[in-house]
């Protein structure tokens, strides 16, 4: 059984209305508790008009549970989930800018691309931009490989994640629009995994 006070990476997925200021409302829930947000992504979801936030924090389950409930309490939040890394499939995208001269002289670019699953998204006389997607360690590895050859710029996107066991939000949304929603919608299914108290 996992302990509830040990810190680990949690990915929080939040389905929300598309509303100005909501990002801030969610962000201050973390900052008020001095929780550092490791990564934050906002994007459309599988449903038009519904936004999906993906937030990564390094925290204990106890803390994450409380934070998620505070997020879900926000009026424009439909639903918030949290998952450990083994419950999700996730990716991050990274871009690397290197000087063409440097890299073509000293490195076998094809080998580099193959080895790191990277591709060149821009090739110019003066610089080249590579791109990889993957987990942090993977994007880090290419960064380390390129560093000796003068990595001019590096940037990595926030994590985007798919919850393995989720069946999407379409059905749930219909429920939310009902005045008499099913039980499932009202409460948080992550509580399923709690001891026998909340059997739902």
């Amino acid at each position: 059984m996992e302990t509830n006070t040990e810190k680990q990476e949690y990915t929080i997925t939040v389905y929300t209305e598309n509303q100005v200021g909501l990002l801030n409302r969610i962000a201050i829930i973390f900052s008020r508790r001095k929780i550092n947000v490791e990564s934050l992504n906002t994007s459309p979801s599988e449903i038009a008009g519904i936004h999906r936030f993906t937030i990564v924090v390094m925290e204990s389950r106890d803390v994450v549970l409380k934070v998620v409930r505070q997020i879900e309490k926000q009026v424009e939040v439909l639903k918030a989930y949290f998952n450990t890394n083994d419950e999700i499939v996730w990716q991050e995208l990274a871009l690397y800018k290197v000087l063409s001269e440097e890299i073509t002289e000293k490195v076998k670019v094809e080998r580099l691309l193959r080895e790191y699953g990277a591709r060149a998204v821009a090739i110019r006389k003066d610089f080249i931009v590579f791109e990889t997607t993957g987990h942090r360690e993977e994007t880090n590895r290419l960064m380390q490989a390129l560093e000796p050859f003068g990595l001019v710029e590096f940037v990595r996107s926030a994590r985007v994640a798919i919850i393995k066991e989720s069946s999407g939000f379409h059905e749930k949304l219909k429920d939310f629009e009902n005045r008499e929603p099913s039980e499932e919608v009202i409460e948080n299914e992550y509580l399923n995994k709690r001891e026998t108290v909340f059997t739902m």
Binding site: T16, E17, V20, G21, N24, R25, I28, R32, L65, K66, R69, Q70, E72, K73, V75, E76, V77, L78, L173, F176, E177, R179, P181, E183, V185, I186, E187, N188, V197, F198, T199, M200
Partner: protein, 565 residues
């Protein structure tokens, strides 16, 4: 339906009327002038109370909401008008008080330009509002206001702030009438009740030998006083209250065992750590109630009833979380629990009460010394009002003493700043409380520190003629801080020695009758005179300078380590 042209300002007022708001507390200013201009024509339908400071306005709105059970409505202008609402919003947020605050904002095209009296009130108030929204187009107003009132009052109530740019107030649009809101798809006011946790809770209660019920404002906010009474009466359980739960159960109810927490009663604090089942109803285990958490009710199974899912397991892990509106969950529990005689268990409380009375209460309410005590004053108020008055308090020693000793016969009679502990709350809240319960006597009990924070609201009393009885319990100190300095900082009285003006003269300057009492022989007649007086009255009572409030659970200690002296 035929449409008619309305301005945004008119639509705001139409919404207030449609939502049953009869009283608005506010203060005009540049950016809210169009709304005030419209108000000029709505004077017969909406009573507007001109306060002396926006903080006074919002506290009055809170007082109104607390006694009336309705949504308090507050108007303020942009910039400083809006920022002056901040303390009240934070107070209403932590005490779950339903408010709709309307602030004016600069013209939409000026947003973000540092225009005159522009401030980003939406972002400033984000953590202290249940919801807030900026309107820049008049057509949004009916829908947004409907949402605002619905959100303020439904579920766990709270303050909502709507910021309306001046252009939207002026703008005319085709008004299609007002439709109240009763559903927002992303918002669940209350969780669905599940049979399984009702059953589990019932079983725990039925098997309990020493159950203790602790209740908070949820009972009052849920209008569930009757349901609560039936629940505790059926199985004979003792019930103790948090400061905001006070008055939900009459003081003299045989199962009312008193107040929880730092300055609560001896029995309920000590016995929290001896009960076998702790049933928390509409309360949130504030640290002032629990004391040291890792030594709080560790022996007990905890049943926690709350409408707000985020409260369950937040501070104290619940054995059974009963999610839902207590007006609905309490009758379900009552149905299942067995009738029990728990007089033996109640007797244990009575023994503690006696011990507390002998060692602590008696000297406080019938002091042997020359100086008057706050407890004595409240006892005399009780004897005069018979527990029928609304008691409004500020924050500090007088607040603890009033909550400990005031008698209450009916609900919604105790108005105080519980969670935020806002000094300066008392006087304006009392004004609002009176407007919310016009047929009742409203007594504000305020210290010599708190009164000076919002004393300008004497002006509101003067102008409106509202009948509020103001009792200043003057110990010539910021008493609560002084008490802590005495007990924990070796009497290093650092800036707690506060001087007062001549309050009788100040009151007189505002046309409020008043008197000052510094001798015990005058106190009974002075209180009788105050209560018999037609209109507002200010009574200053000089009380012992260095009296302390006891019992006390020192910070960082367990509730069972409560000190009687």
């Amino acid at each position: 339906m035929a449409t008619k042209k309305l301005t945004g300002s008119q639509a705001v007022l139409e919404a207030c009327i449609a939502e049953g708001a009869d009283t608005i507390f506010g203060y005009p200013g540049g950016a809210i002038m169009p709304i005030y201009d419209a108000l000029y024509d709505y004077n017969d339908q909406l009573k507007h109370i001109l306060v002396r400071h926006e903080q006074g306005g919002i506290h009055a709105g809170q007082g109104y909401a607390r006694t009336s059970g309705k949504v308090g409505v507050v108007f303020a202008t942009s910039g400083p008008g809006a920022t002056n609402l901040v303390t009240g919003l934070a107070d209403a947020m932590i005490d779950s008080t339903p408010l709709v605050c309307i602030t004016g904002q600069v013209f939409a095209h000026l947003l973000g330009t540092d225009a005159f009296q522009e401030t980003d009130i939406i972002n400033i108030t984000m953590p202290i509002t249940k919801w807030n929204y900026q309107v820049t187009d008049a057509t949004e107003i009916p829908g947004v206001l409907a949402k605002a009132f619905y959100l303020a009052r439904s579920g766990r109530p709270g303050p909502v702030l709507i910021d309306i740019s001046k252009n939207a107030q002026i703008q005319s649009f085709d008004y299609e009438g007002y439709t109240p809101c009763n559903h927002i798809r992303s918002y669940r006011p209350k969780p669905v009740i599940r049979k399984n946790y009702i059953d589990e809770a019932v079983e725990l209660i039925n098997n309990a030998k020493k159950p203790l019920v602790i209740f908070g404002q949820g009972v009052i906010l849920g209008k569930a006083e009757k349901e609560f009474k039936k629940f505790i009466e059926k199985s004979g359980m003792p019930a103790a209250w948090t400061i905001l739960g006070l008055s939900a159960l009459p003081t003299d109810h045989p199962q009312n065992v008193g107040m929880l927490g730092m300055h609560g009663n001896y029995g309920p604090n000590v016995l929290t750590n001896e009960c076998d089942v702790l049933i928390a109803v509409g309360m949130r285990f504030d640290d002032r109630v629990t004391g040291r958490l890792d030594k709080y009710a560790k022996q007990a199974k905890v049943i926690h009833l709350d409408i707000d899912p985020s409260e369950i397991d937040k501070n104290v892990k619940a054995t059974v979380g009963v999610w839902g509106d207590c007006k609905e969950t309490l009758p379900l529990l009552t149905l299942g629990i067995q009738e029990k005689d728990r007089s033996e268990w109640l007797k244990v409380f009575a023994e503690y009460t006696q011990k507390e009375y002998d060692q602590c209460i008696k000297e406080e309410i019938y002091p042997s010394g020359k100086e008057m005590t706050m407890g004595e004053v409240i006892r005399i108020v009780n004897e005069t009002t018979k527990g029928d008055a609304v008691m409004v308090t500020d924050v500090g020693q007088h607040q603890m003493v009033t909550c400990r000793y005031a008698k209450f016969n009916e609900s919604r009679s105790n108005v105080t700043s519980g969670g935020l502990g806002t000094m300066g709350f008392g006087l304006p809240a009392a004004i609002g409380a009176k407007f919310g319960a016009q047929e009742r006597t409203v007594i504000a009990v305020i210290g010599d520190g708190g009164i000076q924070m919002t004393i300008q609201e004497f002006g509101t009393i003067m102008q409106t003629g509202v009948d509020v009885k103001i009792m200043i319990l003057n110990n010539q100190f910021l008493g609560m801080v002084r008490q802590w300095q005495e007990l924990f900082n070796e009497k290093r009285y650092s800036f707690v020695d506060i001087e007062s003006p001549d309050y009788v003269m100040v009151a007189k300057a505002y046309g409020i009758a008043g008197a000052k009492v510094d001798d015990r022989k005058d106190i009974v007649s002075a209180i009788q005179t105050m209560l018999a007086h037609k209109g507002s009255y200010m009574l200053e009572v000089m009380v012992g300078k260095e009296n302390n409030v006891f019992p006390m659970v020192p910070q960082g200690c367990s509730v069972s380590e409560i000190r009687l002296k």
